[in-house]
Each structure stands twice: as structure tokens, then as C-alpha cells.
């Protein structure tokens, strides 16, 4: 089985990830992990903390789409790296309460 470039060239991938800027407004923090998804396909998971304002229900869809498109266009996870991208969003106050390590 051919391994995706995102797995065989992690240093290169990290370089591209770190070069992504400037993030759309509303992003307080973002992290990523590389792992397989539930069916075993290689994937990159983005864990994005939004400001409480940006995570308001009325604007959440618009903001999450903008951020998703930004990452997809800058990185092209499937086309360039062979990784399926998955995005997870939560608000700053939710993260303050849940304190989940993966969100940073």
C-alpha cells in the first residue's frame, strides 16, 4: 500500500502547516493531529478554538466554512498530502470548561 505524502514527508507537511497565515478572524487557537479515521484512511484532524463571538450560532456556519475553505485552499490536504481533512470547532468558553488537550 502506498503511503500518502502527508505521512512519508511529515517535516514538509509541518512546514506548510506553519506557513498558513493569516487565519480568518475569529480563530483563537488551532492545532492538528495526523491519524487514521474510523475506517483506517489517513487523515488530518484540525482542532479549532473560536472566539465566543465567532462561535455564536447565528454566525457559526459562515465562520466555520470560511476557515475550512482557507485551510483547504492553502494546504489542499487530499490533493497534495493524501490526507482526508476533518474539522472540529469549539468556543473559547467551552474549551475553558472542557479543557480538552487536543484543542490546546
Amino acid at each position: 500500500m502506498l503511503l500518502p505524502r502527508g505521512v512519508t514527508q511529515p517535516t514538509e507537511l509541518i512546514k506548510h502547516l506553519n506557513a498558513m497565515a493569516p487565519f480568518p478572524p475569529g480563530v483563537v487557537n488551532w492545532r492538528y493531529t495526523i491519524d487514521n479515521d474510523w475506517s483506517g484512511d489517513p487523515a488530518i484532524f484540525f482542532w479549532i478554538t473560536l472566539s465566543d463571538e465567532a462561535a455564536r450560532r447565528a454566525v457559526l456556519s459562515q465562520n466555520s466554512r470560511r476557515i475550512t475553505e482557507f485551510i483547504t485552499q492553502q494546504l489542499d490536504p487530499i490533493g497534495q498530502w493524501g490526507l482526508i481533512p476533518y474539522f472540529n470547532f469549539r468556543s473559547q468558553s467551552e474549551q475553558a470548561s472542557l479543557k480538552e488537550e487536543v484543542f490546546g
Binding site: 474510523w38 484512511d41 466555520s64 466554512r65 490533493g79 468556543s91 480538552e100
Partner: protein, 158 residues
């Protein structure tokens, strides 16, 4: 109200239960699962509509396999967009549909099987929005040939 829309409303209802800062994980997880199944049932029901004998359509819809649907959607989602300007809008909607299917299925799998992961309301609302956007995109293109091809491919045909 059609069943997929009922499931979306149910997901919203579950996501809003309890106090603003004290959602229960059980409600959030079930909301994610309902959002995925709303979209899953929309696609399988749409495919079954093409089956001539109405009395067999529910049985037809049960032939779909989650893993095969994911593999097919992942492939469709990674296809480059067409050059022809007239085809781009339809292809973009189909890409959104296929991409959302992959994401929603993973979210549902995590919600149903991975108890180590805590869900927040924002995460769940985003999942519900993804399902709603995908359903809207599907309704734009459902009669198009590439959308009908996609339904066949979801079944595992080439």
C-alpha cells in the same frame, strides 16, 4: 415532514436541551448521530426512488453500506472540478455533498463509539449545519446526471 428533515429537527432539539453551559454528552452525541442519519437516509431514499416497484423501495434502501458509501464519497470529493464554467456550480455542489458525507460519517462514528471524546454544543451545531448545507446542496442537483451517477456509485457500482 419527510424523515430526514425530522431527524435534523430532532438533532437541533437534542443539541438545545439543558442549561446553556451544561449540555449532556448523551444529548450531544445523539444529536450528531441524528444529523448523520438525516443525510444518510436522504441519499438512500433518493436512490430508492429510482426503483420501479414502490413496495420494494425500503428494502432497496437497506442495501447501502456505510463503508462503501464513505469510500465512494471520498473519491468523488477528491475529483478535480471541471473546466467548463457551466458544469462548475453543479460539480461544486456534488463535491460539498460527498465531502460532507465523509465528515458527517466520521463524526457519527466518533459520537457513537469513542467515549473518550467530549463534545461541545458548538461542535454539534457545526455538524448539524454541515448536514443542512449538504441537504440543501443535494436538493440543487438531485436531478442532474452526475448526482444520479453518484447515487449509483454509493451503492458500490462502477
Amino acid at each position: 415532514m419527510p424523515y430526514p428533515e425530522d431527524l435534523i429537527q430532532h438533532a437541533i432539539f437534542l443539541s438545545e436541551l439543558n442549561l446553556p453551559h451544561e449540555p449532556k454528552q448523551v444529548d450531544l452525541r445523539r444529536a450528531v448521530s441524528a444529523a448523520y442519519y438525516a443525510f444518510f437516509h436522504l441519499l438512500t431514499t433518493e436512490a430508492a426512488q429510482n426503483w420501479k416497484h414502490q413496495s420494494q423501495r425500503d428494502r432497496f434502501a437497506r442495501m447501502f453500506d456505510h463503508g462503501r458509501m464513505k469510500a465512494c464519497s471520498s473519491m468523488v470529493s477528491s475529483r478535480p472540478l471541471p473546466v467548463d464554467a457551466n458544469e462548475i456550480r453543479i460539480a461544486k455542489d456534488l463535491k460539498l455533498v460527498a465531502d460532507s458525507f465523509v465528515k458527517l460519517q466520521h463524526a457519527r462514528h466518533t459520537a457513537d463509539y469513542d467515549n473518550s471524546k467530549a463534545w461541545s454544543r458548538t461542535q454539534v451545531w457545526e455538524v448539524i449545519c454541515e448536514a443542512q448545507d449538504a441537504m440543501a446542496a443535494w436538493s440543487n442537483i438531485r436531478e442532474q446526471e452526475i448526482a444520479q451517477d453518484y447515487l449509483l456509485e454509493l451503492l458500490g457500482s462502477r
